[in-house]
Subunit: 385 residues, 2 copies
């Protein structure tokens, strides 16, 4: 297997992009990535697109061919493949693209993620719930928020995690987002505001829940030797692993551990030859604040049950020991479902290049954790300078 490098990154603004079509959003991210790499579109050899529900959000399947066409690449006849695993779709696209380069099948590949959700209005939440087990969870009235609420409630009971701990995750991520020009919510919130926001699914309040956003992101991957021709600051992907778990919460032995995250992380650390303590910056999947606490634990940043201590002690703040979600995370940068896994890769690349502007941290290694639904799919990617 060859070493794979990120040589270009691009991201649309995340948010309610009423004036842009799905195609426009993807194109803007892709063009930015090409310009960043100094490449022309015709140099791309394959395309992978992460998208959760084009069928229901847009009435459009066959997304990857559509994008290849709209990007002006149909003439090249390159393979263009959509992958889907709910909000881990972006992570899967990154992994498939990585495999395509590592294996020697292709030299230069683009991996993009995209979602346009605002057009369906209030149906968006019900569509997102199709990330869980439709027959056993959604039909009984469960939404993604209500399932994460059960996890949060149990975490509180078992480990003494407090509503304040959850709120602090949100406060941190909103603060970070003020420094990210691409973020959806670029305003600080106070602990008091977070704690007094209305319940979505008790104990999760409005500010515990990431928004559903429109947005797209793209990264261009190349083999090591080619990367050196295009950039002086290649960021290498030293591991990209993926794992699965039971899709319905009631099938899991332990609600408080995402086994897919644990397994993907274990494999990724082993492959990259590093340990959790070597991670200098991380983007994790804070679709709900409790998910960020679980991520601290399942990635090995803290022992099980002690995740909340990291946020209490400021360890994961921008100036802490392991800054987590410097971009603002899903909560404040926004959660454009299928785009999120790629957007995380964009952020870690910028951080390791030293191009993250006012939110720059100092790190040698970065990690991205992308989770599908309540954890039935997870990808862990480790980046290094």
């Amino acid at each position: 297997m060859r070493r794979v490098a990120v040589i270009g990154v691009g991201q649309s603004k995340f948010g309610e992009l009423w004036d842009s079509s799905f195609r426009d959003i993807v194109l803007s991210a892709g063009v930015e990535a090409l310009e960043d790499a100094g490449l022309e579109g015709k140099e791309l050899e394959a395309m992978y697109i992460g998208n959760m529900s084009g069928g229901r959000y847009l009435g459009q399947e066959h997304i990857a061919a559509l994008i290849a066409d709209y990007a002006g690449l149909a003439e090249l006849n390159i393979p263009s493949t959509r992958v889907e695993a709910a909000d881990a779709s972006g992570g899967l696209a990154l992994r498939q693209a990585c495999m395509a380069v590592a294996s020697g099948m292709h030299d230069i590949v683009i991996a993009a993620g995209a979602e346009k959700v605002t057009d369906v209005g209030s149906k968006a939440m019900e569509i997102l719930a199709s990330a869980t087990d439709r027959e056993w969870e959604v039909f009984t009235g469960a939404t993604l928020a209500s399932l994460y609420a059960m996890i949060a409630r149990l975490h509180m009971r078992e480990f003494g995690t407090k509503p304040e701990d959850l709120a602090m995750v949100s406060v941190k991520n909103h603060k970070n987002a003020t420094l990210n020009p691409k973020a959806q919510f670029r305003r600080e919130i106070s602990l008091e505001v977070a704690l007094n926001s209305p319940y979505v699914a008790e104990p999760l309040r409005l500010f515990d829940c990431a928004p559903l956003s429109d947005g797209a992101a793209a990264v261009i991957l190349a083999s090591e030797d080619i990367a050196k021709k295009y950039t002086d600051t290649p960021v290498y992907i030293s591991a990209c692993s993926q794992a699965s778990d039971y899709i319905a919460l009631h099938s899991r032995k332990d609600l408080l551990t995402m086994q897919a995250v644990v397994h993907a992380a274990r494999q990724a650390y082993e492959q990259a030859g590093i340990e959790a303590k070597d991670v200098g910056v991380a983007e994790v999947h804070d679709s709900f604040t409790i998910a960020e606490i679980l991520a601290y634990e399942d990635l090995g940043f803290a022992k099980k049950g002690e995740g909340a201590e990291l946020i209490r002690e400021g360890v994961t703040c921008l100036d802490g020991e392991i800054p987590v979600n410097p971009s603002g995370g899903l909560k404040a940068c926004g959660h454009a479902v299928g785009a999120t896994g790629i957007r995380q890769a964009v952020e870690i690349t910028l951080q390791l290049r030293g191009e993250a502007g006012k939110r720059q941290v100092d790190a040698e290694n970065g990690l991205a954790l992308n989770v599908g639904g309540t954890g039935a799919t997870a990808t862990v990617t480790i980046f290094t300078r």
Copy 2:
């Protein structure tokens, strides 16, 4: 890259499977493939699932994790990835699985395809139309049948292809299906019946159009050395290529050539080191009868414009020189959208093993052509004994 072999195949019956859920259908195909290979589920290292529109047909995304779970494989935490390119989804799943083994990343991988379409009733056609360009084709009233009808009309005008030629494709495929226990329509039709069936989209009549079916299929792939431990009759995948084209018909320079098929076939022949004339049996994507005629031409079995001669002269009949769609094809075996690309691989494997029963043909090399929508995506896979 390592040589990849098919070591197990399975297929559910295709048709209107009212009594079976999506999960049941996939499971039956997967279990059959495991039994065929003499494997246990826990020996699988990764799973790829082709599925077009779980979101709209079932209200369920995150299909791959769902299936890993329902198949009892969640405990293994193996990566499970859904890929989508309309009715080429199965072909994409096969290709990704192939890459995973060829690259050395995994040793034993399952690729499945599945669709359950009957539950949505008459909405099924509109959902299938999301394989085309929603904004430029579907919004103006186009269905898949009407787009293929334009292609058929032009083929008739340019090359003198006759309604009888199209009907003969249907008659052939229905005849073949009588010999296939898994086929949806196991009855012969006469040329007269086909030619007098009602128009769906002129000049395409009812018997020119493949049904939308429920069904699933699965193949298990392994590296060459491992394959030899499990089977005395490995069937090798000597090439599996994928290409794209403009998604909307109006963007293409030539309506009568599917460039994605031409490119994928050229690459596949080159990689496998064979020519079109070396193909001994083929499963092609006859979603509409005109598509089978185009496939003859774009795969190089006939010159452009001369495809209809092959059916007139019986070249593609079961006892012809290049038997095409011995299974009955999409028209008569059935078209379970995301499953079709895998079902084609099942048929070619059975043929090359000499296990195709009464529809057995004599061949050294087999080819499968899976097409998405009106040809924006195509995969061509070449199998050899």
